[in-house]
Symmetry: C2
Subunit: 395 residues, 2 copies
């Protein structure tokens, strides 16, 4: 490799993050289709030739401006061979059979190792959910601090990600504030109820029970959509009516209880797809998904449930009784005081919660007793997680 | 039941659709926890008491304004009994042990039967995907017709749903037209690239290869998001540059070929989650999902793939070689001329395609040869399907 080429490589990262060298590679061994690297903490990581070639970070393989790959792995032979493999300083250097050269920094290499120990470590880091019951001390955040300080912003977002519920206090009660706070994270997710929605009684509610003064049982919003909104914001502008307390249950805590105590019900709730429908004069939304969603790793990652939006269950006749048992079990636990957290939102307060986890409910309120006006909007988990990662970069 | 109550029930449907009586119930038999109905075509459908009670359409159980349920199934005993069951005219009448009365119209009841024959029938109706290869005659639709006529609009939307690719012609080339056409369906889905995006070369592309003049291999857009956008619109305002043809492959056709010919690869591509990342100075999006997605029924429902947005594969060491084989197989088929459809978009033409199925690619173009300007936006499948259902209601 020429000195110039070397200099280019060193100045360039295919990522927007740095990968500090936390462990040093001490030895490498070449196998028929992989390199094994031994680290200074005795961990041994195997890297396949195809994987290494695929992840070559050089400016010929990765566009220096966008930092996105331009190389396509199918353009090398399936049995690609390395002609030379060398540990030099903290870098792994490889010259491939076609003459192409790749250099991998030890920090990057270790961070992407796929030996079992490294994979377990990463999985462990990703488990950030903290489930809660009625004794939750609702995380509280001050509007001014969040708006003016990146650390406060990050703490608020981590609470929303990990606890799934946070209260913001000290907010002005003007109508434009909700958008400003949401934009502190990212763009708002529009729905058929608009980009911003107003929760107050409508004279003629034709598209949702939310726009009546009825009690609403614990639910997630828009289960009728393929992807339920990740975050829900509810900013209280006026609350002079009697009643209408907000109550919450942690759907993940309920799901975990069912997983532990009623494993057959858990299996049904994770495997049987339920259809949800929101039908109105101008829309007809339908979704199909299980009430408890699991992610690619088998971890509880989503609750999908609004009792009044379910379509008739469509299961084999032989499964119907068992499924009603499981469904009623879940629903009964949402009424169990052991799970319920309650707070009456005052003007100038705002909820932000994980709509795919934290089920919210509303007690009936007395329309005659006074005004009640909440303004709400949605955002996806993607925006939350992206914002957290960017904020963590600059720490 | 009083005559008044009867009149209320008859005037009221819990749905916004009608359910015409296509078959008549001829006999009912009561079991310990269900009713069996025999139809005039000899079909026999079992309806469990809990299921029937849950779906009572009376105005006490379903809010007459929103047509959403207010009854909660947990408020009746698990072993709920019927005191009286009667077929009367085309309706099934039930008086429950607590005195509540329910009436189910034969049209509704038959449409929601869950005996195996009825379920198979519904499943069959839902299979509307038509896969295609290079000999596809791209469905074409005229802008004026779609904008002025509901039948033309419906035909266009059905083509997008079932073929996953449609060309609109005869469009004005002013900048506001794309939004007008999109709003003919519903609202636009915003992303971190904005609500509308402009595809033309940027001087300094830092967040996507799409904004370079490079060739882009077949891909889906935003695989880095948990839910990839369902529809993509690309409206051509100017195309005076040499090159830059649009090419498409049907990802479902490729997935089906792999399912038939290389079942082991198919299993890996549907089961191994791949991480995609879009990293830029102000965002850091990451997703985790299989390259071929299956729906709750096991049918191919999604392709997730942009080669340049993949994170390094993170699999067990023992699976890496097999997964590269499967990945290369998929990628090789996207280059196979047997699958490729190509067309050079002219000014005044617009693509609308299923971004989670129809992979699109772009040949490199020569920036020096002239201007090229496409304007694009996204929408979710939910909006498409809802619009189709509403249009079909009024037929």
């Amino acid at each position: 490799m020429s000195a110039t080429q070397q200099a280019v490589l060193e100045s360039f990262s295919a990522d927007w993050r740095d990968f500090p060298v936390l462990n040093r590679p001490v030895k490498s061994r070449v196998h028929s289709d992989s390199v094994e690297v031994e680290w200074d903490d005795d961990r041994v990581s195997e890297y396949h030739f195809l994987w290494l070639r695929d992840n070559c970070p050089c400016p010929l393989c990765v566009h220096p401006g966008t930092r996105e790959q331009v190389f396509e792995i199918i353009d090398v032979p399936e049995d690609l061979q390395a002609e030379a493999v060398e540990l030099s300083g903290d870098d792994l250097h490889i010259r491939w059979q076609d003459g192409h050269e790749s250099v991998y920094g030890a920090g990057w290499l270790r961070a992407h190792s796929y030996d079992e120990a490294s994979r377990d470590e990463r999985l462990h880091e990703q488990r950030t959910v903290r489930v809660w019951k009625t004794d939750l001390a609702i995380p509280r955040f001050d509007y001014q601090a969040v708006m003016s300080n990146e650390q406060s912003l990050l703490q608020w977002l981590l609470a929303v990600r990990d606890t799934g519920l946070a209260l913001m206090t000290g907010m002005p009660t003007s109508e434009d504030i909700l958008e400003q706070v949401a934009h502190r994270i990212s763009f708002i997710r529009e729905s058929n109820f608009g980009s911003l929605f107003e929760v107050r009684t409508k004279v003629e509610a034709v598209n949702s029970n939310a726009y009546t003064s009825l009690q609403l049982p614990p639910h997630t919003d828009l289960p009728t959509r393929e992807l339920q909104p990740g975050l829900q914001f509810l900013h209280c502008l006026v609350n002079d009516a009697t009643g209408g307390e907000s109550t919450f249950v942690d759907g993940f805590a309920i799901a975990q209880t069912i997983r532990e105590q009623f494993p057959e019900d858990f299996t049904l709730l994770t495997q049987v797809p339920v259809s949800f429908r929101n039908k109105a004069p101008q829309s007809d939304y339908r979704s199909l998904g299980p009430i408890i969603g699991l992610d690619a790793r088998g971890e509880i990652s989503e609750i999908r449930l609004a009792n009044w939006l379910r379509a008739p269950f469509d299961l084999s006749s032989g499964d119907m009784t068992a499924f009603y048992r499981a469904y009623r079990r879940f629903f009964a636990l949402t009424r169990d005081p052991a799970f319920i957290v309650s707070h009456r939102l005052a003007a100038g307060e705002m909820w932000c919660f994980d709509n795919r986890r934290t089920m919210h409910a509303r007690n009936a309120f007395d329309q005659a007793s006074g005004m009640r006006h909440l303004r709400g909007c949605y955002m996806d988990r993607d925006e939350l997680l992206s914002r957290i990662l960017v904020l963590q970069r600059s720490r």
